[in-house]
Amino acid sequence: MSDKRFSLLETAIDVGVERRALDHAAAGAYASFEGWVRNHNDGRAVLRLDYQAYAPLAADEGEAILAEAAGRFAVREVRCVHRVGRLAIGDLAVWVGASADHRDAAFAACRWIIDEVKRRVPIWKNEHYADGESGWLHPDNTPVGSG
């Protein structure tokens, strides 16, 4: 758990620790999202993946997204942690949490944050396939080579 709302982590994300930052006696609703490493993408079997980040800018951009979310939605707190480095199938790649007095704001903030993180934060996913190939992905999870 960090003072920052957004963090990049080279080790496993501990949701039980991170979520404590969302506690608030006035909050009646907590929504969270987790991105897990899937065993398939675009019809190919995936073995593992690597996330690479331009760390200083990713940290700033993530922090900006969460500050914007805190102003845009009636939330008590919002947080996001994104993994970098090598991940295996089932590993937690990204966690978003939002607490609010009511569930509308918690859901809306959580959804908006993960969409913005995926759109704006300089992090890249390299998938390693069962056929021995690997490749960097576009935002829509298609290979860079195809477009």
Binding site: L57, D60, V94, W124, W136, H138, V144
Partner: protein, 79 residues
């Protein structure tokens, strides 16, 4: 001028390095990208990328200074 360029993801693969120091007459990211994209045969037109200088996003016609750290950012795929 001398620039320090960082490369990530597919651009790093294509450049064959994560970082290079380059002497260039380019005064904007737009001109600098045209130069390095030709040198490394990058697959992206500039309008597919964003550019950051010294750790902050800038416009393509931003005025570069000697020793700037310049990063051309391919489309992101985090999350």
């Amino acid at each position: 001028m001398t620039y320090r360029l960082l490369y990530f993801a597919s651009l790093a693969d294509r450049a064959g390095c994560a970082e290079e120091v380059r002497d260039s007459a380019a005064g904007t990211p737009r001109d600098l990208y045209a130069e390095v994209a030709a040198a490394h045969r990058f697959p992206f037109a500039a309008d597919r990328l964003r550019v950051a200088v010294n750790g902050a996003f800038v416009a393509w016609d931003h005025a570069l200074s000697d020793r700037d750290e310049v990063v051309f950012l391919p489309p992101v795929s985090g999350g």
